[in-house]
């Protein structure tokens, strides 16, 4: 169980002046079970990326704590990440092989064993061993995000924070990557914290959706029960989604209809 309790975080607009601190997160509490996909939805400026960084252990909250199975500061082995900008998420001078070896550093594996694992992992994300010697600029956005997913899986983490991981991709590629994520969850039993502004993508992938508004979680809804939202902001968001004016795309719906 990954749990965040009473998280608060504020930034000062000028260093050293307390009076001007601006709260980004207030009293955020959430839980994500093993293998669960929790969506965290919010507009830009709602604090969702800060929440992601805190869940990853990249930043410390001012108040509250993040625990994994009741233990604090256990992020390193348990939580990994895929970030938004596929252009900068792999070191520009690293080949795919070097990027994927990062999480395996310090684990003593033979060369053959390592190669086998890397190729196996690339195949799971829909690529193959021929990508190992490529540089990031030789990959498309979708391919780069697939490599990042493989890299996150290689850490052996139990949860992956997907911080707007599909938002900068084309609509059709977004749909493919979301399906890949769903398939990988089935294979590895891994949990996701899917941070996005896109309700449609979240509704496709997530078991539960937490709606973050002005630094607070105003409502948490199960996937099938989005209609029961009570908070005015959540209702507004849903109304936009239904009328098709949401930021998402039509590709996912078309895809689902195709399957169903």
């Amino acid at each position: 169980m990954l749990a965040a309790e009473g998280i608060a975080k504020s930034y000062s607009s000028r260093p050293g002046r307390r009076a001007q601190r601006q709260a980004v997160l207030e009293e955020v509490t959430l839980r994500c079970a093993e293998g669960e996909c929790l969506g965290i939805i919010g507009a830009s400026g709602s604090g969702k990326s800060t929440l992601g960084r805190i869940l990853l252990g990249l930043e410390r909250p001012d108040q509250g704590k993040v625990t994994i199975d009741g233990r604090e500061r256990a992020h390193r082995d348990a939580v990994s990440a895929v970030f938004q900008d596929y252009r900068s998420s792999i070191h520009p001078f690293f080949t795919v092989r070097q990027a994927l070896l990062e999480p395996l550093r310090g684990k003593r594996l033979g060369r053959a064993e390592t190669d086998r694992r890397l190729e196996e992992m690339l195949e799971q994300v829909g690529l193959d061993g021929s990508y190992l010697e490529r540089y990031p600029h030789e990959l498309s956005g979708g391919q780069a995000q697939r490599v990042c997913i493989a890299r996150a899986l290689l850490t052996g983490a139990r949860w992956i924070v997907l911080d707007e991981a599909v938002s900068s991709l084309d609509a059709s590629v977004q749909a493919q990557v979301l399906e890949l994520l769903e398939r990988i969850r089935g294979m590895h039993g891994i949990g996701y914290l899917f941070i996005t502004h896109d309700l449609e993508a979240a509704a496709f992938l997530c078991d539960r959706i937490a709606i973050l508004h002005e630094g607070r979680i105003v409502e948490t809804l199960a996937r099938g029960r989005l209609g029961e939202a009570r908070h005015p902001y959540a209702r507004e968001l849903l109304a936009l989604f239904r009328s098709g004016l949401g930021t998402g795309t039509g590709a996912l719906n078309a895809d689902k209809e195709g399957k169903g």
């Binding site: 260093p15 960084r53 990853l56 252990g57 990249l58 992020h75 390193r76 939580v79 990994s80 990440a81 970030f83 938004q84 900008d85 596929y86 900068s88 998420s89 792999i90 070191h91 520009p92 001078f93 690293f94 990027a99 990062e102 999480p103 550093r105 540089y135 600029h137 030789e138 990959l139 498309s140 956005g141 979708g142 391919q143 990042c148 890299r151 850490t155 084309d170 590629v173």
Partner: protein
């Protein structure tokens, strides 16, 4: 090494590297390979033309020009190289610390840089020479004092640009400390920019040291240095213009080789800068093809 291969696949770069390696080796071995001692005066051979015994002829005191050119490599190239590396190393360390630590450290270090950068280079050098006296060591010290601020600026900007990149954040989720981040991720990413700056300032420093020696402020007679040799040859500029050729040619050759090499180095270090492999469109992946197209248009 893949990068070295890429560097050497560029003919101009390979030639520049060979020339520089030869010059450095000749400088290091000068006492053994020079045909005569550099300050052996023989007035009988004053302005003698080239001969088998003295391949580049003799200067106004009958000294062997070839030997003086070879001995001049040490102050002109080797010491300048050491000075550039010292200021690059120091400046990079300061700049990376500022970029990574941010806040007050950053503000303090950058104001210090501003102060250093606000002095015109020659004025500062002359001031240092005025205080510490003439001599090559003092000139090089002045260069180190002046140039580090440029490296600090470039390193800080590069670090800040990369510090929030996904790959750095990912390395941090793996528990990488600041030093590991710098060594494994940020330093390689900043290297092309720093390499270009370093080679550029190597060229200018070499020219400035020669210039100051020409003015009589650098290395002192009778030691050989290319700028000094030019300065001495100037006295006979109209009657014996060929005296200017050897040291002048060496300065031009070295500075050009360094500049060509730095251009090639930038390309070789950065895989994106058009290496042998271009983005290949994989069949069945229109997005890759489109991305490759876009990149080509952008170029």
């Amino acid at each position: 090494m893949k990068r070295l291969q890429r560097l050497l696949s560029d003919r101009l770069a390979a030639a520049s590297l060979a020339v520089l390696a030869a010059i450095l080796a000749a400088g290091a071995l000068a006492p053994w390979i020079a045909p005569h001692p550099p300050d052996e005066v023989d007035m009988a051979l004053r302005y003698a033309p080239w001969s088998l015994d003295y391949p580049l002829g003799n200067d106004q005191l009958g000294r062997c020009v070839l030997s003086r050119v070879l001995h001049g490599i040490r102050p002109s190239v080797l010491y300048v190289l050491a000075a550039v590396l010292a200021s690059a190393g120091f400046g990079t360390a300061v700049g990376m610390a500022a970029g990574l630590l941010r806040g007050r450290t950053d503000a303090l270090l950058m104001r210090l840089c501003d102060v250093m950068l606000s002095f015109p280079g020659y004025v500062m050098t002359l001031a240092v020479i005025g205080v510490l006296g003439t001599g090559l060591a003092n000139i090089l010290l002045a260069f180190i004092l002046m140039k580090w601020a440029w490296f600090a600026r470039v390193a800080r900007t590069a670090v800040q640009r990369h510090a929030d990149a996904g790959y750095v954040l990912f390395a941090r989720t793996l528990g990488a400390g600041r030093l590991t981040l710098l060594r494994r991720h940020l330093l390689p990413a900043c290297l092309p920019e720093l390499a270009v700056l370093a080679s550029g300032s190597f060229g200018t420093t070499l020219l400035q040291v020669s210039g100051l020696s020409f003015l009589g402020l650098g290395i002192q007679a009778p030691h050989a240095e290319w700028g000094m040799m030019l300065s001495e040859a100037r006295q006979a500029m109209f009657s014996r213009p060929e005296q200017l050729l050897a040291p002048g040619f060496m300065i031009v050759l070295t500075v050009s080789a360094v500049n060509f090499l730095s251009d090639a180095l930038q390309t070789a270090l950065d895989p994106q800068a058009g290496g042998p492999r271009q983005a290949a469109a994989v069949p069945g992946e229109p997005e890759a093809a489109a991305a490759a197209m876009l990149r080509k248009e952008a170029v």
